[in-house]
């Protein structure tokens, strides 16, 4: 039935993200990938669900440095993401962006952003353009819950509300601002409640359920496309990895990680599919197929030549 196939589609995307990031973790350990890399393991349902509810032929997504999952959900080839982190010529940004700042406009993914909150006003601009180009574009600004305390996000929320811009503000609430529990940095940790002050709807959604995310984003997108303005969605999820590769996570209370692992979206999706009557073999086959796809992508990316250093001065100006 529909819900089963829908969930299976989400699961495929989530597997693709998870396996790609497991490959990245290995490449980072091997030293092929260097620098700080922010994984989204545990948050995959947000990306799978949200992107499924958008029309990327017109819509535009503005994620953060934690953007591998967004890119993959948007349809960027795992090889192109891996090649970017490896500084290869075929990297989605030719090695200019790296893990934290690549951009894939051809896939509706208009750039990670490594400045917390800075993508929110930029997304407003994409929505503003829609008011003149007749595209019907909806812009989705994704950022963490910690970014809700950044001035630029506030200004974006108000501008979008004041001008009824078609923007979806999607908070990926994983509970942490880097190494600090965000609920210690706010007095009211129900961040979606800030929406009312701006005169826009706000709601919490189960960020580990791709169907719930797709449903909420879909309704918000429809509303925005109809000219009824922005929505603030707070997707409750968690990281099952560190803030960056190498983060020892000593700051996480005992048991928290186990609970997170029990609730993480891939495991939950598989359980739901089992309960829905999908055979274990099918789940294994799906997992194996995606894993094989990623193994190939890693091999292809590693086989690519490094980006040509003689071109580094190009594209600064037209």
């Amino acid at each position: 039935m529909k819900s089963t196939t829908e969930l299976a589609d989400h699961l495929r995307v989530m597997h693709r993200i998870r396996f790609t990031e497991e490959a990245i973790t290995a490449l980072r350990a091997a030293g092929d990938v260097v620098g700080s890399v922010h994984l989204c393991n545990g948050q995959e349902a947000v990306y799978a669900g949200a992107v499924a509810a958008l029309d990327l032929s017109v819509d535009a997504v503005f994620p953060t440095y934690r953007g591998h999952g967004w890119a993959l959900a948007c349809g960027v080839a795992p090889r192109a993401v891996l090649a970017e982190l490896l500084g290869r010529a075929g990297g989605i940004s030719g090695g200019r962006g790296g893990s934290a700042y690549f951009t894939a406009p051809d896939h509706g993914m208009f750039g990670e952003n490594s400045i917390v909150g800075a993508g929110a006003p930029i997304a407003c601009g994409a929505a503003l353009a829609a008011a003149y180009d007749g595209s019907g574009r909806v812009a989705l600004a994704a950022f963490g819950e910690g970014a809700m305390n950044q001035g630029a996000v506030h200004e974006a929320l108000n501008l979008a509300a004041a001008r009824s811009l078609p923007v979806l503000f999607l908070v990926e609430n994983n509970g942490y601002s880097e190494l600090t529990p965000t609920d210690t940095m706010v007095r009211n940790d129900q961040l979606f409640r800030r929406a009312a002050g701006y005169g826009m709807p706000g709601a919490r959604v189960d960020g580990n359920d791709p169907v719930a995310v797709a449903d909420a984003v879909g309704r918000a997108a429809e509303r925005a496309r109809a000219g009824r303005g922005p929505v603030l969605l707070e997707a409750m999820t968690q990281r099952i990895v560190g803030h960056y590769i190498g983060d020892a996570q000593q700051y996480r209370p005992a048991g928290e990680l186990d609970a997170a692992l029990a609730a993480e979206p891939i495991r939950r999706a598989e359980e739901a599919l089992r309960a829905g009557g999908v055979a274990e073999a099918e789940l294994d086959a799906l997992r194996a197929a995606v894993r094989a796809e990623i193994d190939t992508a890693v091999a292809e990316a590693l086989a690519e030549p490094l980006a040509d250093p003689t071109t580094v001065l190009e594209h600064l100006y037209a």
């Binding site: 940004s93 962006g97 951009t103 406009p105 800075a118 407003c124 601009g125 503003l128 353009a129 100006y317």
Partner: protein, 333 residues
């Protein structure tokens, strides 16, 4: 091409009007720019003539600049106003970390053809937070282009060039120039490209490189110096990034003497860039180069106190005398 008698503000308004007319992808917005027509009246009448592409915004510089970056990535050509250059500092990230990176990181698949109109400098009674000359902060950023029009014609031409330019460009005007007398301004000509200094006064004895409103004081001083037998060549840099070095070097090669004058603080100012470039060129000077800018202080509000901090015509004349008053002129062989 038609000539019109316009103030400096009127010249900028004419450029905006033409851009909004000829480039349907332009947008014009910022605080008080639409219905009120701008706190300095520079955008008067544009809402009426161009409708919903001209609008007012909340007091949210990060949202103004960030939305301009985003809109410019999607085919729009936003012209946004930051009322005072000082205010750009509440959202400098959107200019330096965002706008300047768009084309480079996307390797040209995206671009950010936005224009930031602002104005700066001291005016009588202005406080320290409304008096700074901050061009050096913008000029250090690869990916940005920076103009400082100081004549009526440039208020029109440089702004037009900036809007047509396909990368983020900052046009820094000066409010003390907005509502002076009207002058003939050429309109309707071909849109100039970016870059290129202007020789405001040809001369043989000393090269004075300057930019912004202070050049009018420099030209006064040059005239008074001429009466004393010092023939100064005054170059208006106009574009602070990129700097037109050939024009500067060509002049210094002839005069053998260099004075740089700006309203901004001397230390860390763009004057250092000009002097350094000349020094690196290997041109032998007849006298050490001189920078004249504001000394280390904040800008006080009282006009007579501000005048004691900021360089004026008398200071320029003094510098010209010290630099070229010895009667020996021309470059060293």
């Amino acid at each position: 091409m038609p000539d019109a008698q316009l103030t400096y503000a009127g010249a900028a308004n004419a450029a905006l009007d033409r851009a909004l007319t000829e480039r349907p992808e332009t947008l014009l917005y910022g605080e008080d720019v639409a219905v009120p027509g701008g706190v300095f009246g520079v955008t008067k009448g544009l809402l009426k003539r161009h409708g919903d592409r001209v609008f007012d915004t909340p007091i949210s510089e990060a949202a103004i600049l960030g939305s301009a970056v985003g809109a410019s990535m999607f085919g729009r050509r936003p012209i946004v106003e930051i009322m005072w250059a000082d205010f750009a500092l509440v959202a400098f990230d959107q200019i330096v970390n965002q706008a300047a990176n768009v084309r480079y990181i996307s390797r040209g698949r995206l671009s950010a053809p936005l224009t930031i109109r602002t104005q700066q400098g001291n005016a009588p009674g202005a406080c320290a937070q409304h008096s700074q000359s901050l061009e050096a902060l913008f000029a250090h950023v690869p990916g940005l282009t920076v103009a400082m029009p100081a004549t009526h014609q440039d208020a029109h031409d440089l702004l037009l060039a900036a809007i047509w330019h396909d990368d983020p460009t900052v046009v820094i005007e000066n409010r003390t120039l907005y509502h002076g007398e009207k002058r003939a301004v050429r309109l309707g000509g071909p849109v100039p490209g970016i870059g290129g200094a202007a020789v405001r006064r040809p001369g043989t004895d000393v090269t004075v490189v300057t930019w912004g409103a202070i050049q009018h004081a420099v030209l006064d001083a040059a005239q008074r110096a001429a009466a004393e037998g010092i023939d100064a060549e005054v170059i208006d840099l106009r574009w602070i990034r990129p700097i037109d070095l050939p024009t500067v070097l060509g002049s210094v090669r002839r005069t053998g003497r260099l004075l740089v004058v700006h309203e901004a603080h001397t230390v860390g100012g763009v004057g250092g860039e000009v002097v350094a470039a000349v020094a690196e060129s290997g041109i032998r000077l007849a006298a050490p180069p001189v920078r004249l800018g504001a000394p280390p202080a904040r800008i006080p509000a009282a006009p007579h106190l501000a005048a004691a901090v900021l360089p004026g015509a008398a200071d320029v004349l003094g510098a010209l005398r010290a630099l070229a008053g010895d009667g020996v002129h021309g470059a060293v062989a």
